[in-house]
Assembly symmetry: C2
Amino acid sequence: MGENDNSEIIEHHVEEEMEKKGTRSRTASSSFPGSVTPSDREGHSGTQSSHRLLAYSDALISIIATVMILPVAHTKLQGNDEELRQSVQLLLSTKIAVYLMTFLIVTVAWAAHIRLFQVIVRIDDCLALLNLACMMLITFLPYTFSLMATFPENILGILLFCGCVMVMGVIQSVIVVYAFSRPFLLNEQIQISENLTVYKHHILKVIMRVPLMCFLASIFSFILFQISYVLLAIVIFLPYISRSLKWCRSKAIGQVEETPDSILFYTFLPEEPLSKDRVEAFSDGVYAIVATLLILDICEDNVPDPTVVQKQFGGSLIAALQDYGPEYLAYFGSFATVGLLWFVHHSLFLHVTKATRFMSMLNTFSLAFVGGLPLAYQLTHEFPRNSRNELEAIQISCVIIFFAGIFQLAIWVVALYNEQETLHPYVRYGGREHVFMLAKLSLYPLVALGTFFLTCILSQFSASIFHLMEITVPFAFLVLRLLVRGGLAMLRLIFCPDRPDQGSVVEEEDDETRVPFNALVT
Amino acid sequence: MGENDNSEIIEHHVEEEMEKKGTRSRTASSSFPGSVTPSDREGHSGTQSSHRLLAYSDALISIIATVMILPVAHTKLQGNDEELRQSVQLLLSTKIAVYLMTFLIVTVAWAAHIRLFQVIVRIDDCLALLNLACMMLITFLPYTFSLMATFPENILGILLFCGCVMVMGVIQSVIVVYAFSRPFLLNEQIQISENLTVYKHHILKVIMRVPLMCFLASIFSFILFQISYVLLAIVIFLPYISRSLKWCRSKAIGQVEETPDSILFYTFLPEEPLSKDRVEAFSDGVYAIVATLLILDICEDNVPDPTVVQKQFGGSLIAALQDYGPEYLAYFGSFATVGLLWFVHHSLFLHVTKATRFMSMLNTFSLAFVGGLPLAYQLTHEFPRNSRNELEAIQISCVIIFFAGIFQLAIWVVALYNEQETLHPYVRYGGREHVFMLAKLSLYPLVALGTFFLTCILSQFSASIFHLMEITVPFAFLVLRLLVRGGLAMLRLIFCPDRPDQGSVVEEEDDETRVPFNALVT
């Protein structure tokens, strides 16, 4: 590559650095062209940047969302008795329901937290402590779900849940009132706006909506508890459903909903930007905890008892550990899968310039399946080899991996619909990394789909082979760039044989991408 | 406070924002005055900022370091049989040893990872995948410790551990060689330096030191396995010991060790800066996982079985849950403690401008005790009320909290020794927040110490009262500022009654702190 090419890449780097440095302030004011710098406002002794508080909250919320897969994965599935097996399956489905409900409601709470702290950009000690109280209640929610799932006809679980949500609503309102009484804590655009009180009332109204629904649900629970569940389901799914519907309508009719100029936050539009930093931090947390849960199982279950080793294996530890061989393979295979799904996510968000609510929703779905991977790991090594169950376990693993990958691909597809705003020029249609990104994103869904159909055709398929496949996928990523280059060159050779080489093509693309990114957006 | 005061605070804010934005590039080049901007160098297609890779690695390492407390906390301590109790205690001490060893070795690996990626500041796909392979091996280390602790006389655990470390050394060497073959991935200061190969050989030499020791250990394990353990202990503790000794000597004699100008990284000096961002991210991860492990226990253990509720409590869920009352209290108390220790840590690092190796070491010790909190939680609610064991459990909790807090205080004390470089003017001697910071940092050690002596004096002390105390501490933090202000005002009134009011004192302090921070450092 020539000198010309290098200078263009330097521009890319400058932009990357700029992005990295300015992300926090940029995301907070991204919807406002020409915003003032965060330090133009007057301050107060003891105010702090909220950066680390948010990072800690993201870590807490992502772990609490994911860790509920542990009770699911720890459910023992063995049992020769048919009746016992049915009761175990009931227990398992209950626990899976708890996991999914926790994941959904926690991510809803997390989205609300993001939006709150896009308005409040600086904190002081008091806000930090209030936020910690909020976190304490969020981490308590999974327990209320466990109660609800185990005793669906007892209203105590509902009441506890509604109580937590209502207290959280009160705390959040206190946070908003406190922050608006000290305007230097707020986003600059709100600080300088004339109608501070309008903002305050709008935000309070949005925040209090969920606690009010919960209050209704807790009252109805005394009359007819089924209605409470319906109400709670509405609370959880309403934002998702209304967002998807609105998005579909806006895409179908092309009609863009108008927001009043005075209210720029809390719009509930699918295009509303969510802090990309925080979406990344949350995803990192989920991937990290999933990767770690695997080794926790290994350490708890796969250390043989010294007396057993002495008696059954004549003191030979190696012989005793040979029994666990497939589990190590399963561990490395699963870790490779989690790591590579993170890698694909990382590559994708490197080229995403703005995360919208809709993209964040798809990301949540992808993460919910990633969180299911410990279950897949548990299933694939639990059953005796070459049994019918082993085949089913591999199929379940494939389904989980497929959906985790396909939702990542969906994020990109959604981003492409609005590529001028949400994607880096490199990966837009015709960008130099476009095809490579597509290949990266579709590798896992394709491999999972292929394996799934392979298990349908073959009557026998060993879990060990499956895990070996998982371990070899990283090498596929290493050669992917070569494959894509080779494939593209071949396509060019076939369809445009008059073009001398691909160097000129690359330069052409450079001309397009060399336009500064901001100029393209505005 | 007057107009004058406000302008000074704005300066504080500007600086804070600058710090936040420039941390990544600043820490990487902090030892080099007048460094060039990161984007002055030529780049290459596919290079990426390493920010998110490092955040993910921090999350993984912090979780793996902390999660090994789970097997410790899950060990059931009950048992009326004296012999059984002894075997349980042996098991418990084994598991605690595994936890501490994991925590230490993982933090050593983490420090090596920080230093490696202070040299390599940009990544591409290949480096990202190599780093993931490294992470996979790090997460496997706890299992090798479990084997070592369960079968101390079997060399398999040692061999596995040494194998992992050697493979990690090879991968890290490959990373270094790869990065030096593509200099645009490196730190700018190394890029422009003449002696690239000197750097490369120095770094490779430092990296290969540990794998070589492990190679020796694995050979000795065939001859006399005790020597291997000694060698491994040296590997783990040598950096800590040599650092502490060197630091003590330099403080005692005042002699500062000279480093050759050509080698600025990998110096092993206690003053060597470690990325403050990453120290914060690692600490956040540990605090978050500890807070979450508590609710996991609640969800797994405290949901009663439906049949038990039907038979024993006549279907009354509330009656069944009343048994668990103390556990909820224990949960909220422990969460409040973890949250507030994080809050103190957050307040401290907000005013720390540079994290040195020695501070990071003290931070690690503090975090190791924080990681022990789930054990304290498990102990305080496991024993029958008003028993001798309950008192001991509370004392253990106090000891854990005391050490977690006292090491945080130690970080600050060490920072004060070199306050011009490591602390923000606000919290230095005479700074306006100095006394308040001291009060914040010493609150937990004092409370823990007080409770400990209270339990020694009183023969009975309920765990419920202990947890109620834990929950009330946040309010102490809220009124702490008022208390400190009141106390200072009273001291001034007693010792300097001729001074009219404290306003003038504050202004005097302001004059000192208004000097731009950078001017003070250089």
